[in-house]
């Protein structure tokens, strides 16, 4: 169905599961998934609540296109107040879980309260129940997935769960579904753990119905697939090389941060790139990249499935890690690699396996380790704190050792679970944390790419490329090329990307479609599936409404314009060499223009006129 018009409310404190009708007035204003979950969250949760307390809600939500024949329709989101930032959090994942939730007949699940003991939620269409998960507490996400499949003897069952990182209190733990896909950012898995909810296991057999105009939907989704197939990026580049093809591009244009963003440019970049992943290795003649992979309904198939060299020190005595598993994507390869100075592809792939196995965000983890490495090299921490690990930039052995400490929840690993901001505060060097609103940066330096810096500073979930990927325009020339080091026009560019992304996320589609699709490809698919007017104009206004509502949640949580900023390093320390030498972020110029473009006040508040225009 587009909307099933049915949501499931699970009160973990009371142990009850109650169906409710979907609020269609809200659906018509916020579409689904990210937008609609944000509306429910705003209405039901006090933004000042403790993110890890029982008053925070966690919502798993599909969009109206999730599970349909539209390309990339496997997406769902996990929303809550985030523990890493204290801001609204929404993490998006692919795989097959989201579509299965829709097939079971539910638009979303709202979890409230906290269970006294560990439980998991079992959904078989309309039949839903909370069951004990005490036997799975302390297990990894992969073990949990295996146990549930064995218990229920249904290979088609789809599972989303948390691993040990969330249970250990890591503030950037994610929710892992289908073993290798993650709602990874902002600590949504930590919130799931705080509710003593270990997993959600779903089997849905009701398929898809309730499409508003079936003929128009078949036609518009087929048109969309043709565009994706014919486009060089979505039809050729992404399936062949994956997101990792960016490693050399971003390094080449002088925007690849390295060594906790102390430097820009990384000599070892080519060794951890997509091209390196495709090369046969000496030991067994096989490449790191085993195959590409697709999520539900996806006709792009950018996913990476990799194997670690079985003779590599990280896995040679661990046969369980010598098989094929979820491989490196660009953001993970950057944070685990360039930011830590480690250019050992096998070590990074192994650490990435651990991120999936125990459910933690590789972007935040790598960046936090990078901050720890700078603390170590500055002499602020020593082997006394790290348990004897010589935590220097570039050491693959140290990186693997500290990660194994981390997943076991031992020693210095506990400190790493704090995230970069709290780690640097603990050791009294807050300026070394490369974060916005407490969340770590992805793989693009705001000094070398101006628009992405403005996007980071204003992102509602803290530093994030996926809230407004202006890199598409500023570097990749999609849809049009803009100059990466110019600040002119970037306010409007950032707003346009942020609003469009909010809409795509809320539809249940993958943002990667927008490398080929414009809103004129997307709106007809939504319009055909859903009741109401989903013209291009209405879609764009809906995206803007969602962005502003998230901002209102954060405002009520206590965030102000002072939080729309970047670390001092990026505002004041110029890039030392390369094609972007001398650049700092021009955030001070762009931010007032951005507020104006959004119709906000000079101090970043949303005035009544803008609220009325957007029906907020």
């Amino acid at each position: 169905m587009s909307w099933t018009r049915k949501i499931l409310r699970v009160d973990l404190s009371k142990g009850t599961c109650t169906p409710e009708p979907l609020n269609m007035e809200w659906a018509n204003h916020y579409l689904g998934s990210r937008g609609l979950a944000a509306k429910y969250l705003t209405e039901e949760v006090d933004p000042k609540c403790d993110a890890l307390g029982p008053d925070n809600n966690m919502i798993m939500a599909t969009g109206p296109l999730t599970g349909t024949m539209a390309s990339t329709s496997g997406r769902y989101t996990v929303s809550c107040k985030g523990p890493l930032t204290g801001a609204i959090a929404c993490s998006n994942s692919g795989g097959f879980f989201g579509a299965e939730l829709k097939f079971a007949g539910w638009d979303m699940i709202i979890f409230v309260g906290k269970s006294e003991k560990p439980v998991y939620l079992l959904i078989e269409n309309d039949k839903v129940a909370l069951r004990s998960a005490e036997h799975m507490w302390g297990k990894t996400a992969w073990e949990t997935d295996d146990i549930l499949h064995q218990t229920h003897q249904d290979p088609q069952m789809r599972i989303a769960c948390i691993g040990r990182a969330a249970e250990n209190g890591c503030l950037y733990a994610g929710v892992i579904n289908d073993k290798h896909r993650a709602a990874g950012r902002s600590g949504v898995g930590t919130v799931m753990a705080s509710k003593n909810l270990k997993a959600v296991a779903i089997r849905g057999t009701q398929g898809i119905g309730n499409i508003e105009d079936v003929g128009a939907f078949v036609s518009s989704t087929n048109d969309g697939k043709a565009v994706l197939a014919e486009n060089a990026v979505t039809g050729q580049g992404l399936p062949a090389y994956g997101t990792q093809v960016l490693m050399n591009v971003i390094n080449g244009v002088g925007a690849l941060p390295a060594h906790n963003m102390r430097d820009v440019g990384f000599e070892g970049a080519e060794n951890i790139s997509a091209e390196a992943m495709a090369e046969p290795r000496k030991s067994d003649g096989k490449p790191n990249l085993t195959t590409n992979a697709a999520c539900f309904g996806c006709t792009i198939a950018c996913g990476r499935i990799s194997t670690v060299d079985p003779t590599h020190f990280s896995v040679k005595d661990k046969p369980q890690y010598q098989g094929a598993s979820g491989g490196l994507e660009y953001e993970a390869a950057w944070s685990l690699g360039a930011d830590t100075g480690v250019d050992d592809l096998d070590a990074l792939t192994y650490v990435n396996f651990l991120c999936n196995e125990d459910g933690f965000d590789p972007i935040s983890y790598g960046s936090t380790v990078a901050a720890a490495m700078e603390l170590f090299e500055s002499g602020v921490i020593t082997t006394q704190e790290t348990g004897g690990i010589d935590l220097k930039f570039g050491s693959a052995e140290a990186f693997v050792a500290v990660t194994e400490q981390f997943v076991a929840g031992e020693g210095f690993g506990k400190d790493l679970g704090l995230g970069s901001k709290r780690l640097c505060e603990k050791y009294e060097r807050p300026e070394l944390s490369m974060t916005v609103k407490g969340q770590e940066f992805p793989a693009y330096d705001p000094r070398g790419i101006q628009g992405i810096g403005l996007n980071y500073a204003t992102s509602n979930r803290g530093a994030c490329h996926l809230r407004g990927y202006t890199v598409a325009s500023e570097i990749l020339g999609i849809p049009v090329k803009t100059e990466q080091t110019d600040s002119d026009g970037k306010a409007e560019l950032v707003k346009a990307f942020q609003d469009a992304t909010a809409l795509v996320d809320s539809a249940g589609l993958c943002i990667f479609t927008t490398f080929a699709w414009g809103m004129d490809n997307i709106a007809p698919q939504i319009d055909a599936a859903c009741e109401g007017d989903w013209s291009v104009e209405n879609c764009l206004e809906t995206g803007e409404r969602i962005w502003n509502m998230e901002r209102l949640f954060n405002e009520a949580a206590g965030f102000t314009a002072d939080d729309d900023t970047l670390p001092k390093r990026l505002l004041e320390e110029a890039i030392k060499s390369g094609p972007t030498e001398g650049q700092v972020s021009k955030l001070g110029e762009m931010l007032p223009q951005y507020y104006e473009a959004r119709g906000w006040t000079a101090d970043g508040k949303i005035p009544d006129a803008t609220r009325q225009r957007l029906s907020l």
């Binding site: 486009n231 060089a232 990026v233 050729q236 580049g237 992404l238 062949a240 090389y241 994956g242 997101t243 990792q244 093809v245 960016l246 050399n248 591009v249 080449g252 244009v253 002088g254 080519e270 997509a274 091209e275 390196a276 950018c302 994507e329 660009y330 953001e331 490329h465 996926l466 990927y469 890199v471 598409a472 570097i475 990749l476 020339g477 999609i478 090329k481 100059e483 990466q484 943002i511 990667f512 490398f515 390369g578 094609p579 972007t580």
Partner: protein
């Protein structure tokens, strides 16, 4: 004069034999224009999506006129994206 070429992703197939993963040192005539270099390697204009000279982007129009100079590094990618 001597310049360096770097071809990435699906364009690696156009690289002459050599040891480096992406880079080759080649000799070209003085005054060679960027598009002439691209054509010399049989790379179509559609394939040469991102073209950098010494790390700086050169747009399609400027590729017609930009003359290469000694020790320039020309880096070329097909249409790619990620994130």
């Amino acid at each position: 004069m001597q310049i360096y070429i770097e071809f990435y992703a699906s364009l690696m197939k156009y690289l002459p034999p050599g040891k480096s993963r992406f880079r080759r040192e080649i000799r070209v005539d003085e005054g060679l224009v960027l598009n002439q270099l691209i054509e010399q390697f049989h790379i179509s204009h559609a394939e040469a999506h991102i073209v950098l000279v010494n790390g700086h982007y050169v747009d399609g129009e400027s590729r017609e006129a930009q003359e290469l100079v000694e020790d320039d590094v020309v880096s070329i990618w097909p249409p790619v994206a990620g994130g």
